[in-house]
Symmetry: C2
Subunit: 205 residues, 2 copies
């Protein structure tokens, strides 16, 4: 809603212009569909503003999000909007040249990879590499305790500039939601798989 009226005008000494430029933390959580999809839809707006976008895909399977990835790569390379950097844990992060840590045990590997991803996010936030960060499925390592939620909150609170961050996934930790500017919960009302519908190309991936 471009012209939406805030319910409250805060007593924070900021001008409207300053409030329009405030960095936002958005959380898409809940058991329903559309959490990541809405984050990538948001990336279309950011692209249209000419913003550099960084996607960090904290999921194992490289098959996931292939449609969104291809679309955002084409957009990023079109020369018409912002740039897009798409980082995938599933294939090993692109910036890591050595083999992943802890290959003997699947879980160790994944935990180490997740941590590598978060370390890169921290470096990029400090360097203000992107204007929009999509931390896709990032709630899971927080929920599992692989990454400390308090550290994430602290890093996000202190991030410089106007860097917007969208975090997606089920079971977003309460303390993270408490500091977010927008929390949307996607609730499943009915899902095709409940009645035996199979996942479909173009819809599920």
């Amino acid at each position: 809603m471009p012209k939406g009226q805030p319910a409250v005008v805060p007593d924070d000494g900021l001008t409207t212009r300053q409030r329009r430029g405030r960095p936002l933390l958005l959380v898409h959580t809940g058991p329903g569909k559309g959490k990541s999809t809405a984050a990538f839809g948001l990336a279309l707006r950011a692209w249209n503003q000419g913003w550099p976008i960084g996607v960090f895909q904290f999921v194992k399977s490289a098959k996931w999000r292939v449609g969104e990835e291809n679309a955002l790569r084409v957009l990023g390379a079109s020369g018409e909007g912002g740039t897009v950097a798409w980082h995938k844990m599933g294939e090993g992060w692109s910036w890591i040249q050595r083999p992943a840590v802890g290959d003997a045990s699947g879980q160790e590997t994944n935990e180490a990879r997740v941590r590598e991803g978060w370390e890169q996010v921290k470096r990029d936030l400090a360097a203000q590499t992107y204007r929009l960060y999509v931390l896709d499925e990032f709630t899971y390592p927080l929920h599992w305790g692989w990454i400390d939620t308090e550290e994430v909150i602290s890093v996000l609170r202190d991030r410089p500039g106007t860097q917007h961050v969208v975090i997606t996934g089920r079971n977003a930790p309460g303390p993270l939601c408490d500091v977010a500017d927008l929390v949307t919960e996607m609730t499943k009302v009915r899902h095709p798989m409940d009645t035996g519908q199979k996942g479909q190309k173009g819809i599920e991936w």
Copy 2:
């Protein structure tokens, strides 16, 4: 979830392959954000499959969705995925050459325009013009009674081929949800405007 297992295998005589090709009706409703955004994110997957996509934007303001529209137009013209046709009620539908009906009264005009949009959707469904239809904010004219929900249900039930339809907006009528394959409700847990945050470019539009 590409490899998700259905909770139930229906006794409908269809093979898995047939179930994978079934036309779906998806509804994104609820008071939270991300309803339309998730629909446009879904369009990225459809685009990546090479599907022709038709967007029907049942909203007045042409300013809305400008990011998504520009992005999908660039994608549609890239020659790499599917095509994109973007139809806007706000500027008068593109296929209408004559002036809109009922210009003397704002509401009449909008109601007439909404009906023109739905008539075109019906023509396109009959002709199987698109593989994915995004009927953005289409729940409102249903909710207001401008378009008969039972007629929409009937047209969608009888649509030929494998045409997927996504309908977005608050207050989706119950009977529509009852026949949908997927209904996701977006719930507002916290919104920046609650604390006086202003809408921001790249985030809200």
